[in-house]
């Protein structure tokens, strides 16, 4: 018996409003230091390390919109019948490097919701694709996040 209703599945294909972010040397430097980078091009903030976009496109939300555990509610997602987050994974394909001074646009789409029967009950999977491009449309990267709820 499935746990996903038509109301939840209707969210597949939903898109978040595009977000435009300016890449600053200061943010690259902070990211590089926080992640223990040793390569000069990253520590100096000229070029962004491969996972920098995770920080750049993390949602900036007001404190009073956080849930009591400090998590920002992702408005792209429906209310799922299962809520315990178990694991997550990323699959990122890179087209062009991110550099200080770039103006990037991120478009997020909820591309899939499905369920599987696990050993201890139903599991819900969902996938969100983030496409990052430059203002002139040059592709920068494509990231697919898969998350698992039980």
């Amino acid at each position: 018996m499935g746990v996903l209703t038509g109301d939840v599945l209707a969210y597949i294909g939903r898109k978040a409003p595009p977000r435009t972010e300016v890449v600053t040397r200061r943010d690259i430097r902070k990211y590089a230091i926080a992640t223990g980078q040793t390569q000069k091009k990253y520590v100096d903030g000229d070029v962004a390390p491969p996972l920098f976009h995770v920080a750049l496109f993390w949602d900036v939300v007001p404190i009073n919109e956080l849930s009591p555990d400090g998590v920002s509610v992702d408005k792209l997602l429906p209310k799922f019948p299962l809520e315990k987050a178990m694991a997550g994974g990323l699959d990122i394909q890179y087209h062009n490097r991110i550099r200080a001074g770039d103006v990037l646009i991120g478009n997020r789409t909820l591309t899939n919701i499905y369920e599987k029967e696990g050993r201890s009950g139903a599991l819900i999977f969902y996938e969100v694709v983030l496409e990052v491009i430059r203002e002139d449309g040059t592709p920068v990267l494509t990231e697919k996040t898969t998350r698992l709820l039980r």
Partner: protein
């Protein structure tokens, strides 16, 4: 001899150098600060242990993914570019633990000048907490 970042001499099964990480509160704080991530499991120890049932402050999942990417990116340096990174956070890890990254070459494509790596991040017990794959393209 350390593994040279040269596609002409690289062989399937070649192993990357292992790197050890022992993240502390300051590093985890800086990481979550640059994200704007206030999830309490990363900084509120009574919340992480008493409410969520973890054994300590939880290392942020994407920071582990970053370190898997670094395993290859630091090896290739300025001789190429990461083309693809895949990882999945399977188990939690905690402040105080020492984590180890490493991996091996699983495929080489001389025409495209790419190499694929299978990567791991292990905890001290030897559990693979974050497996991953990285593809690099040599210049």
């Amino acid at each position: 001899m350390s593994l040279q970042p040269n596609i002409d001499t690289l062989k399937i099964g070649d192993a990357l150098p292992e790197t050890h990480y022992t993240p502390d509160n300051i590093q985890l704080f800086f990481y979550n600060a640059i994200l704007w991530n206030a999830h309490r499991i990363h900084f509120d120890l009574p919340y992480a242990t008493d409410v969520e049932g973890y054994k300590g402050l939880v290392i942020a999942g994407p920071m582990l993914g970053d370190w898997l990417a670094q395993a290859v990116d630091n090896w290739i340096g300025d001789r190429g570019m990461v083309q693809r990174v895949e990882y999945s956070n399977r188990m939690a890890s905690f402040i105080g633990e020492t984590l180890t990254t490493g991996g091996t070459v699983t495929a080489i494509n001389p025409q495209a000048r790419t190499a694929d790596f299978e990567l791991f991040m292990k905890n001290e017990a030897g559990d693979v907490i974050t497996p991953g794959k990285v593809t690099v393209r040599f210049d």
